[in-house]
Amino acid sequence: MIKPLRLLFLGLFGAAAVHIAIVFLLPAYSERDAWSELASKGGLYTTVRLGQGSAEGVLGEKDNPFFERAACRFDLADGMARVTSSETVPFWSFSIYDREGFNVFNVSDRSASDGKLDALIVTPAQLLELRKGMPEALQTSLIAETELEEGMIVVRSFLPDESWRGIVDRFFARMRCEAY
């Protein structure tokens, strides 16, 4: 009587171990890697429209029919990264993700001084340097401080209906992602 019970207990103990192992190993073995997908689409500081015909996998998916998205990768070892667009849209927001796809910084256009997309991504050391003398061109920029070296930024824009498509497309066409 004891033996089958002990075997079942052993099996359940193993099940718990397998459960924990799978939960912790899933992120490491996942093939849905936004960073490498983005890397295959273009180099650093290349703006890639997401959710469009050209993008597949994670990047090709549309999570919301009313949002248009574009992404670019940056490397703060080269200096600060700046993202701007001269077009104004009803709503924009952006998130900064690390290489693993974790959201580390996010902000919406409510935080911008004049509603325009103009953001500077800096490391704490670069921010310290910047504080000594803010260049005139960056006076109105949104400053995103991050501990990251490499990362990606995803800019989202609201598309209320098709009549806005021209403006939203222009917003992304004029979006510049560059080392500063």
Binding site: I22, N64, S95, Y97, N103, V107, R156, F158
Partner: protein, 194 residues
């Protein structure tokens, strides 16, 4: 000898099957660890951040995607109506009630894998707060149905399970700790096609 082999394989089957099955269950069900439930609506406020628990991390690794930041908004997904019955594409539902404050919101129907369900022809299976019809002093009222409905209608088609995905943009509830105390609209089933 054979008996030992049988016993070992029994233990292995229980361990592997039970372990993998329980992970699958934990990740597939919409209500699990790390979620906040408001009626039928489920949100994962920490999804995709470094504060997320291991289950949320595993879930985002499986579903992939780059999650919305807390300053951008929050996504609430309903897989059942307010009575707890699973949502189905062949049924009609009325979403009614008050929403938490937000700059605007979007609502659309998705399949189980969170893929957007397209409406037939020129109908729309997605709505946002600025293209809804609002009556003075009345809360939100949207009908989700395969049949046409006056006023606010989200068109569905086909058969099978369905989820409703509500995105609140620029809302204080995504950053606050008291997400669970928010009022969310009810989802009432009003009938099903046979």
């Amino acid at each position: 000898m054979l008996k030992t082999a049988l016993l070992v394989s029994f233990v292995l089957i229980v361990a592997l099957g039970g372990g993998a099955g329980s992970v699958w269950l934990a990740l597939e069900s919409t209500r699990t660890i790390g979620s906040v439930e408001i009626g039928p609506w489920v949100a994962f406020p920490k999804l995709g951040t470094h504060e997320a628990d291991p289950y949320s991390r595993a879930r985002s690794a499986r579903t992939g995607g780059l999650s919305l930041g807390q300053a951008e908004g929050i996504v609430l997904v309903a897989g059942t109506d307010s009575m707890g019955r699973p949502l189905r594409r062949e049924c009609s539902y009325r979403i009614e009630g008050d929403l938490p404050p937000a700059r605007f919101f979007t609502l659309h129907a998705t399949d189980e894998a969170r893929r957007f369900l397209k409406a037939p022809a020129r109908f729309s299976s997605a709505r946002h707060s600025q293209n809804l019809l609002w009556r003075p002093a009345q809360p939100l009222r949207i009908t989700v149905s395969p049949q046409s409905h006056p006023e606010n209608w989200i068109a569905t088609t086909g058969r099978g399970p369905m989820h409703l995905s509500l995105t609140l943009v620029d809302t204080p509830i995504s950053t606050g700790a008291r997400v669970g105390e928010t009022i969310m609209p009810m989802i009432k089933r009003i009938g099903c096609d046979d």
